[in-house]
Amino acid sequence: MADLETYIELLIAKDEAAFEAVYHQTKHSVYAMIVSMVKDRSAAEDLMQDTYIKMIASIRQYDPKRNFTTWLLTIARNLAIDELRKRKREQPVDPMESENIFPKTEAKGETDLLVEEYLMRLDEDERQVFLLHIVDNMKHREIAKIVDKPLGTVLWLYQKALRKIKK
């Protein structure tokens, strides 16, 4: 698997194959980041699309000294934050406070229900750190940069999340 940084010039040239490669290497982390915040799969899908569009649009601003995944996930996080702010302004009752991470209309298997139950034990910060780490084994140090928290806090949140999942 090639380093994502090697695709930058190809992305600037709007190379489809490079985009596909970047997408498949990063999609799970991007989805985990977004769904940990918006707790709504259809909104997460829209935000995921926006994230990749913004990534391409901003590709010239990418600083090659930075980790590409960190940069991409920061875009995803900022878009999710904007979405949450927008909803808060528009609706007196925040749908983010919904009890379900996944939409109720969707047929859920036993496993998904169980996963949902585990994730609902975590608060937003814990869920974000936890999912980013377990889904694509992202290093806590990188997560700390994305969520703009000290490394120690991230380690702390992760341990708290593990304890809650274990109960």
């Binding site: 999609k27 569009i53 391409i56 600083d63 940069w71 998904d112 996963v115 120690g152």
Partner: protein
């Protein structure tokens, strides 16, 4: 279901549900933004971590406390402890008070994590002739002496900034301590900033003799509150980590310890230090499942006063009159006590000794004279 299976299940579920939106994106239609580079990461405010003697001392003392807890300093020959009675701790400064309480908490943590619950000290040991209090005091005496031996009066302590000679670390500081008597003690803390100057996380190692304790630390400023979160990795073959989070506010320092083994929280304690004029207090609380299990109030007056309260505990007591191996009596006990520590003179040898006066309702008042730690 085991934790690792749950994690695998969550991982697979998230991956399975990840939508495939790549086909909806027409990359050739996206207009590339040509605007100037703008960082998407909000910069962290400039922090003063490791710039003050207080921070250095705090970190080092905490590390030592953790080191004691890990029993590495004591067993690996990093220090030869000489808890002679004239080394009785004198809590002359905030640093001393902090160090003392940190070390005491480590001592008590050690109790908790070595399989011993917080049994009331008035309870006899299994033999019936020895009391728990004597074991506790023996430990306390040991740490009081260790404290002074390691820390000494703050006026005899110097901290020097260095460029670290160790590979992989940028900076270091060396701490030299000269106790009232005995040879000078030195330890070094090597550290490096991780990443850019905006990234306020640090990694380092504390070296004392042949012992090394690795740590990761991060520091943050939130309004007027400044806090330091440190993770110490104890050099054992267990997957242990002790996290110490320090929060500093005007007149207050709070240290939260968590001992984690293989991802599982074994113990948690919260130490609050209060400095008001000449009065210094430290409250140590052991917490289990958000319930306070035991509280220790340490106060420096002319000597040291320790007020403690152990939450309700179910005590299993063997009824040896019937069938020792099968018959147990269960009692719920809540206990309060006061221990005062002062320097006295041994009536026979005329040397200074530490005197512990213990007042516990159920056993009355007892006094103990202790000279040397049994661990030496």
């Amino acid at each position: 279901m085991k934790l690792k299976n749950r994690l695998a299940m969550i991982r697979e579920s998230i991956k399975r549900q990840t939508p495939e939106i790549n086909k909806k994106i027409r990359i050739e239609e996206i207009r590339l933004d040509e605007s100037p580079v703008v960082s998407l990461v909000h910069p962290v405010r400039s922090l003063r971590f490791l710039k003050t003697a207080w921070a250095k001392t705090t970190l080092a003392m905490t590390a030592i406390a953790i080191g004691l807890f890990g029993i590495v300093f004591l067993s690996d020959g990093g220090f030869r402890l000489d808890s002679t009675p004239e080394m009785a701790a004198s809590l002359e400064s905030e640093e001393d008070a902090l160090a003392f309480t940190a070390i005491t908490s480590a001592s008590l943590l050690k109790y908790q994590t070595s399989g011993m619950d917080f049994v009331p000290v008035s309870r006899p040991l299994s033999g019936g002739n020895t009391w728990q209090i004597e074991t506790h005091l023996s430990q306390l005496n040991h740490y009081v002496n260790v404290l002074d031996r390691m820390i000494g009066p703050v006026s005899n302590q110097s901290i020097t900034d260095l460029t670290s000679p160790r590979t992989g670390f940028e900076r270091a500081f060396r701490v030299l301590v000269t106790p009232l008597s005995g040879s000078q003690i030195a330890y070094e803390l090597h550290y490096t900033e991780d990443g850019t100057s905006q990234d306020n996380s640090y990694v380092g190692v504390i070296v004392a003799g042949s012992s090394e304790i690795h740590f990761e630390a991060s520091r943050s400023l939130q309004g007027t509150r400044e806090w330091l979160l440190t993770t110490f990795l104890i050099p054992t073959d267990r997957s242990d980590a002790v996290k110490a989070r320090l929060t500093e506010e005007t007149g207050n320092t709070v240290i939260e310890y968590e001992h984690i083994s293989n991802g599982i929280l074994l113990s948690k304690s919260v130490l609050t230090l209060t400095m008001e004029n000449s009065s210094r207090k430290a409250v140590l609380r052991f917490v289990e499942e958000d319930t306070i299990q035991a509280t220790f109030l340490l106060e420096k007056t002319t000597g040291l006063r320790i007020e403690y309260e152990i939450g309700t505990q179910d005590i299993f007591e063997m009824d040896s009159m019937i069938a020792p191996e099968f018959s147990y009596d269960v009692r719920s006990i809540t206990e309060k006590g006061v221990i005062t520590v002062g320097v006295s003179t041994h009536q026979d040898s005329d040397v200074p000794v530490l005197r512990y006066d213990v007042q516990i309702a159920s056993i009355g008042t007892r006094s103990y004279i202790l000279e040397k730690s049994d661990d030496e």
